[in-house]
Structure formats: structure tokens, C-alpha cells
Amino acid sequence: MVTLTINGNEHKVEAEADMPLLWALRDLVGLTGTKFGCGMAQCGACTVLLDGAPVRSCQTLVGDIGNAKVTTIEGLTGKVAETVQTVWADLDVPQCGYCQSGQIMSATDLLANNPKPTDDDIDAAMTGNLCRCATYHRIRAGIHEAAKRLEA
């Protein structure tokens, strides 16, 4: 039994210490917004925030989390995140949408740390998030637009 703080709530889960957070979130807690894509931190679909910093939940073991606070797409709040989500819908960024929880996690973290990212900054921050629909053109536009709205 492990206790995890997810989106501000404590959850007791029947998980061995070596279970990746991804599967604990999806299969034990029932938060399915975090997606499985590769299982080896190559695609970013499973990105969540751990004490505010993005991690790949497929490579983050439940036993290593301790008291750190987990934030998933379902619990993402704040002006930056909400702006990113609104812009994503306004620009119709998603196609299949499967990778977008991870994209939004990474984009939110980027904008929280760098309010006016350049194209190169965006490429550097987002290159770990694969999108097989290749919505990259709009992801880039979405981040710039969110930066603009947040500045206003």
C-alpha cells in the first residue's frame, strides 16, 4: 500500500514499489487522461508534474515518489495551464488528441518558466513529446498565442 498525493487528494493504492506511476494513475486511481505511448520515456504522452516539474510517469516508480505532489491533466490548474488549454481548443490543435495531455503539460511548464519562448525554445522544450498526427505546426502557434494572451 502506497499513499500518493494526486491533484491535491491523498490516494491509498495497492501498488508494489516498482509500479510505474503511469499504471497506478490509470489502472488503480482511475485517472486516464495520462496516456501510455512507449513505456520508456521516448514519447512524452505520460507526462505529469511532480512537485510542479514535468516527469515521464512511465519511468517514475511509485516507490520513489514519497511525499511529492503529483499533478495530472485532470488536476492542472492556474492561469498558464488554463490559457494553454483554451488556446489549444481555439486553434484546434488536437487531431486524435491522444498525446495532447502530455503536450499541454510540457507547454504549461515551458510557459511557466519562459513567458516569451522563441521557436527554438519551443523546439527544445517540446521535442520529447511525440505527436504522430504531427500537430507540431499548431502546437508552436498555440504556445506563441498563449504567451501573447498571458502577457496581455
Binding site: 501510455f36 488536437p94 527544445a124 504522430r132
Partner: protein, 740 residues
């Protein structure tokens, strides 16, 4: 996204000439009988009647195509599967336009199990399926008429309620009003309207009256739920008591289980069972992690007698030898090719090599199966060919297809991968559920490695091209010999293979638009034990590359500008010429580029649409290249959702670019070398160019758009790379030439 345009004309003749085979293969798929071309089908709605339960009791069934509930919420029932390409949005647009619905009240759900209503018109109507970029083609009349019929029924209900003439009622944004001041939303009249007779004929709006169709500002109805984690995919299905299974597939294609030892696996915490299925061993767990850990503990001995054991270099060597010989079959023959070459002032030749490619949709394949107490079976999945899966599943459990209910889930991509005739992952789910005695619902979930190594790749091909030009540089002879596996032979579509030619092997080559008096397209089909499949834009993934890269070589040999040379072989008003000229204008083709920037062009027709692209690449002096900008000009007939047309072309460019720059599946002694994204490299954001999409205004009915953005990008970039580096790219992926 994958059935070739040719099928539209081929399905019916084939059905006639090979009726017995098709009946045997497709069996009960066509049990409903007739072809769903007609509007009369609106009047019968068995599937919608049973499906309406899923929308809650308050939903009133109008036709097999939509329900409206008492809150006025319109649920469009889509015959076309949604994998990201926006077909749900397109179909919703058609319905909402004619219904005069409130766009914010629209939702869409996938449906199956009524081929009369949902058969794909582009495939002849006898099978439901999503592919060949046909979603708008098959839906264009059907769903507009469904919307118009429902509108007429609502008006009739309101007229009767209010005691007024139907013609006096105005419908706007989901509200009916009468000049007397009477007003009411769809929800108020839904139940009464659904009981009204379905009109036998309806008048569709004139294009000038459209508010939604062609509206570039219309937003997708489903974007918000894709930004907050609430969109539900097959991987998210959770049923009471559900178990999760992972597969152990044979390590080589064609190998079979000889024996296995699951003792250690059974002792792994959370592992519930380990069972054998016809497709491999399944480890069933309480959750995914238990199944994965259990899998590591299973020992399997494989019978590799019948396995494909060759390696990629050996296969490519065989392909190249075959390409140098005469083709086994002829797909196109114009004029006299030998005389054409004999008379040519100059002859040039080139060979192009294409590897296997994995679809690698972001959501690894999965399906969920549950058998109910009443003997019915339910399957949740990305049912791209639902009738096929319904039939296959019914055979496994020994029931009839009507006892199999499919829940058509949205999926995280597909690119053709979920349209398989053997039902692969769907069949696995049913087999596993059966093997555990149907004691619990089972989700089978492939890992990335399972997904990448299970085959069903874009086939590997070699093209041998030869061109002859006369003294004026005019192209007088052209031959293209395609060598590779057939996608359709030995499937239910085998009848499509005529005279040894699988149209999906040569589409894009056999319909080259250029006026060349002597032309031959040949095909030699290879037999390799690697399962292959349609992969976004199918044959044009390689044919368009070979043809459009080679045309550039010919243009150079003729001393001509690549666009001017292409135009010289096209009718000035042809669709190809028009999009080429539009792309050239938008890219300012004749203006010089900044230093270290180079352009390349390509044009290709696929799935009824024609797309020209001009790629601009830059070099950094080290021999590497970056694609900076792509200008696309698109003729896809009428653009139902212009912004989604743009999105599909942007995404198609990224998808195609990733493939030619770095994707490759290779075999070593029969085993697939790549298992995950560390070594199989789709495009990432840092390699995504700026994309500009220009859509030609058109009054023609919509043609395909999910795939046609893909074919031109490879050759356009290859042609630009030649300008930049002086290297011709003839072996995919580009890394083989650029890093050489």
C-alpha cells in the same frame, strides 16, 4: 485512410465476377443485403433503435444517422471511424448544416452493425469501413439528407403542435419559430418529431445558404475534451471486474508456440491467468503492470519451421535483382516503349528503395471484449472495418454476427493500422476472453514493442525507372517497374487484384498525369512472410516519390525548370497544372531565395484530390539539411471544413516528412530490429517546417483529404536537397544518403 480510389470503380465489377469468393470471405458481412446508396434507408433504423439506449432513454431516434434528446442535444451517429482525421467533425457539419442545429449542441458517436445504412458508398456500399480518405465522399449526400429529413420532421411536429403551416416555420440554431411568436427548441419537439413519417424526399440547401459547410471559422466540436484528458479512447475503457492482458507474439512472422511454461508468471502478484491463443500467449492480470511483469516470467519455446527468417539486406538484394528484370505484370501500357527508347536522344535511369514502415499510432493497439449472460458479445475498439470484426468475433464464440455489439471507440491515431482483415487485436481480445471462460471482461493492450514488431507495415519496395528524352528535351518514353509485396492479395479484397496487379502497389505510378507518348508501368509482386498493410496514402507513399523525384532528374537532363517542365506535359486547366501554378505563385518560385535556401517541388494525385507542394530547405554547411517551409496547394473538391483540410495537410506533411527523413523497419534473421521510439524515429517538433496551405476554391463534391497531403512531401524535399547538396536521394530514409 487507405483504400485506394480505384476500389470505387472496382468493387462492383469484382463483386459480380467473383461473387462466390466474396461471399465466402465477407460472409455475413453483407447479410443485410442491399447496397446503401439510396435515401430510402432513412426509413429503417434497427441499429439506431438499439443504439439509442446508449444515449439514455430520452433520446428520440430519427434515422440511423441521428438522435435528438429532450434537451435538444443532437447525437450524430457516424458510420465513419474517428482516428484524429476529423471525420466526426465533417459529418457533424453536414448534419448540422441541413438540420439548422446549434453547433454547440452537436455530439458524434460511432456506430456499426447496419451495413444497409452505414456501408461505405465509395466501396460499393456492401461493407462499412473507414479508409481511402472517403469519409466525406460516402457521407456527403447521406448525412446532409439525414439532417434535412430530421429538420422536416421537427418542423412537421411543431406545425402540428401549433396548428400552423410547416412552410411558415423558421429553423435557426436549434430553435423553431413561427411569426406568431411561438417558439421552441429541438428538444421540445424531438419525441413527437421522431414519430412523424420520414419524408421520402428532401430538398438540400443551395451552397449560397450554407453557414457551416465551407466555414473556415468553424471550430471542431471535440477539441476541448482533447485538452483536459476527458476524451475516451479504447485504452480508457474500464468495465466492472475487467482484466488486462498483454500478448507474447511470435518473435518472427510465421513462428508458432511449441510449448510454454507459465509457472513463474502465475506466481507474479496480480497475474490472474496465462493462456494460449491462436495468435500467441496471453498473460492476464488485474492491471497492466501485473500483466507486463508476468509476461517477463513466461518461457515460450517457438516452432520456427515456417517463419520468415530473411534479413533486410537479403530481401533488398532480391528486390533489386527482380527490378532489373522484366516485370511480371503490366499495369499501364501506352504507345510503344521500345520504339520510344530507341528513338530517344538521351536515356536516364534510376532506382529507388523504400523500407518497411510502421504506423506507430500513439495509442498502441488494443481492444476490450465482454460476453454477457444473454450470450451476446460486446467489443470496444477502433473498429475501422466493423463488419469484418463482428463476423470474425461471432465465429470465435460460435454465435451470429447480430449477437456481437461493437462499441466504436475513438483511437489515438491509426493511419490505416486498424483496418485489418484478420481483425488482429480485436480477435485477440475475444480469444483471450474465451480462453479464460468469459469469466471477466478483458482488455488486451499492446505495448509499444508489440505494436512495432507485429507487422502490418507499409511494404518495402524497389522502383526501377527509365526515361527517354528527344533532342528538344521532350519526354518520349517512361518506364517504371515496381517490385514489392501485395497488400490486398490473400485478403477479402483479393478480387481487386486483376491480371497480377494489386492496384495499391501501383496507384500513383499507373495514373501518372504527364503526357508521355510511350509509357509502361510494370509490377513484380514478391512473396515475403512479413504482414503488410495500407499506410497513410498507401501506394502513393512510394510511387509518387519515385515518379516526382525522377521527373526532376529528367527535367535537369532536359535543361528545364522543374515546374515549367511538368506544366509542359499537362493540360493548362488540369487539376495538376492548376495546383502547381498556385503553389508556384504562393512560393514565389521564380524569385531567388536567400543564401543557403533551396526549393523543390512535387505534385501528386491520390484519393481523388491533387496536392502540389514546394519545400524550402536550408543547409548549415555540414551536410545536414532542415526543411524550413512547405507551401501546399490543394484541390480536394469542396472543403467541408477548410481549417480541418489545412490541419490534415499540415499533419500529412509532418507524417510523410518523418518517414522519409528517418523511419525504417528492418529485419535481422526474421526478427524486427526496431521496438520503440528510441530507434524508430517519427518526426519531432524540431524538424517540423512552417506549413502554408492554400485550398483551391471548388464546387466539385468533396474528395479525400486525410491522405493526399502525404505523397508530395518526400519528393519535394528530395528535389530541394539535390539543389542544396547535389545529392540525389534514392534510398529511404534520407539518413542513408545524407550520413553516407
Amino acid at each position: 485512410m487507405m483504400i485506394p480510389k480505384l476500389m470505387q470503380s472496382l468493387v462492383l465489377p469484382v463483386a459480380k465476377t467473383q461473387a462466390s469468393r466474396r461471399q465466402f470471405m465477407l460472409g455475413a458481412l453483407a447479410a443485410g443485403g442491399g447496397v446503401a446508396l439510396g435515401y430510402h434507408i432513412l426509413a429503417s433504423s434497427p441499429a439506431a433503435a438499439s443504439d439509442s439506449a446508449a444515449d439514455g432513454n430520452k433520446a428520440a431516434v430519427f434515422t440511423p444517422y441521428l438522435t435528438i434528446d429532450s434537451d435538444g442535444k443532437v447525437m450524430v451517429l457516424s458510420s465513419q471511424f474517428e482516428m484524429g482525421q476529423g471525420s466526426y467533425n465533417g459529418i457533424a457539419t453536414l448534419v448540422a448544416e441541413e438540420l439548422d442545429a446549434d453547433w454547440s449542441s452537436i455530439d458524434v458517436r460511432g456506430v456499426a452493425g447496419n451495413v444497409k445504412a452505414y456501408g461505405n458508398v465509395a466501396f460499393g456500399g456492401t461493407i462499412q469501413g473507414t479508409g481511402g480518405s472517403t469519409s466525406m465522399v460516402t457521407s456527403w449526400e447521406r448525412y446532409r439528407k439525414a439532417g434535412a429529413a430530421a429538420r422536416a420532421m421537427l418542423v412537421a411536429a411543431a406545425a402540428s403542435e401549433w396548428g400552423v403551416q410547416p412552410a411558415e416555420i423558421i429553423v435557426e440554431n436549434g430553435v423553431l419559430t413561427h411569426p406568431s411568436g411561438k417558439t421552441g427548441g429541438f428538444g421540445v419537439f424531438a419525441a413527437k418529431a421522431a414519430a412523424m413519417p420520414v419524408p421520402t424526399d428532401v430538398k438540400l440547401k443551395q451552397p449560397g445558404d450554407w453557414k457551416l459547410i465551407g466555414n473556415a471559422k468553424l471550430k471542431r466540436f471535440d477539441s476541448a475534451r482533447k485538452t483536459n484528458g476527458t476524451e475516451q479512447y479504447t485504452i480508457d475503457v474500464k468495465l466492472p471486474g475487467m482484466l488486462t492482458a498483454v500478448m507474447i507474439h511470435p518473435p518472427m512472422f510465421g513462428a508458432k508456440v511449441k510449448s510454454f511454461d507459465a509457472a513463474a508468471a502465475r506466481s507474479v502478484k496480480g497475474v490472474v491467468d496465462v493462456v494460449e491463443t491462436p495468435r500467441g500467449i496471453a498473460v492476464v492480470g488485474e492491471h497492466m503492470w501485473a500483466a507486463i511483469k508476468g509476461r517477463e516470467a513466461v518461457k515460450v519455446v517457438w516452432d520456427e519451421t515456417a517463419a520468415e527468417k530473411r534479413s533486410t539486406p537479403e530481401l533488398m538484394s532480391i528486390y533489386k535483382d527482380l527490378a532489373a528484370k522484366a516485370p511480371a505484370a503490366i499495369a499501364r501500357k501506352d504507345g510503344d516503349i521500345d520504339a520510344g527508347f530507341a528513338a530517344a536522344a538521351k536515356v536516364i535511369e534510376a532506382s529507388f528503395e523504400f523500407p518497411y514502415l510502421a504506423h506507430s499510432a500513439m495509442e498502441p493497439l488494443n481492444a476490450v471484449a465482454r460476453k454477457n449472460d444473454d450470450g451476446t458479445l460486446e467489443i470496444w475498439g477502433g473498429h475501422q472495418f466493423p463488419d469484418v470484426y463482428q463476423t470474425l468475433a461471432s465465429q470465435i464464440v460460435g454465435t451470429t454476427p447480430d449477437k456481437v455489439r461493437l462499441h466504436v471507440m475513438k483511437t489515438g491515431g491509426s493511419f490505416g493500422r486498424r483496418a485489418v482483415f484478420d481483425g488482429d487485436v480485436v480477435v485477440e481480445a475475444v480469444h483471450i476472453a474465451k480462453a479464460i471462460g468469459f469469466r471477466a471482461p478483458v482488455k488486451v493492450q499492446w505495448t509499444r514493442e508489440d505494436d512495432m514488431r507485429a507487422g502490418r507495415y507499409r511494404p518495402s519496395y524497389v522502383h526501377k525507372l527509365k526515361a527517354g528524352i528527344d533532342g528538344d528535351g521532350k519526354l518520349v518514353a517512361w518506364s517504371d517497374h515496381v517490385v514489392g509485396q501485395s497488400i490486398m492479395s490473400k485478403t477479402a479484397f483479393e478480387g481487386m487484384v486483376q491480371n497480377g496487379v494489386d492496384p495499391t502497389s501501383v496507384e500513383g505510378a499507373s495514373n501518372l498525369p504527364y503526357a508521355i507518348p510511350n509509357q509502361t508501368v510494370g509490377l513484380t509482386t514478391t512473396e515475403v512472410g512479413v504482414p503488410v498493410l495500407w499506410w497513410r496514402s498507401v501506394g502513393s507513399t512510394h510511387t509518387a516519390f519515385a515518379a516526382e523525384a525522377f521527373i526532376d532528374e529528367v527535367a535537369e537532363a532536359a535543361g528545364r525548370d522543374p515546374i515549367e517542365y511538368r506544366l509542359s506535359m499537362l493540360e493548362p486547366q488540369s487539376r495538376h497544372a492548376v495546383v502547381l501554378k498556385l503553389a508556384a505563385e504562393k512560393a514565389e518560385w521564380t524569385k531567388p531565395l536567400p543564401e543557403n535556401r533551396f526549393r523543390g517541388v512535387a505534385v501528386a494525385e491520390s484519393f481523388g484530390s491533387v496536392v502540389a507542394q514546394i519545400a524550402e530547405v536550408s543547409t548549415d554547411g555540414s551536410g545536414s539539411i532542415k526543411v524550413e517551409r512547405v507551401i501546399a496547394a490543394v484541390d480536394c473538391g469542396l472543403a467541408v471544413n477548410p481549417d480541418q483540410v489545412r490541419a490534415q495537410v499540415e499533419g500529412g506533411i509532418g507524417f510523410g516528412l518523418g518517414a522519409i527523413l528517418g523511419e525504417e523497419i528492418t529485419l535481422t534473421a526474421g526478427k524486427v530490429d526496431q521496438g520503440n521510439f528510441d530507434v524508430y524515429s517519427p518526426l519531432r517538433i524540431d524538424a517540423m517546417p512552417v506549413v502554408e496551405v492554400h485550398i483551391l476554391a471548388s464546387t466539385n463534391p468533396p474528395s479525400g483529404i486525410g491522405e493526399p497531403g502525404v505523397p508530395p512531401i518526400g519528393p519535394a524535399v528530395a528535389n530541394a536537397v539535390y539543389k542544396a547538396l547535389g545529392k540525389r536521394i534514392r534510398v529511404m530514409p534520407f539518413t542513408k544518403t545524407l550520413n553516407a
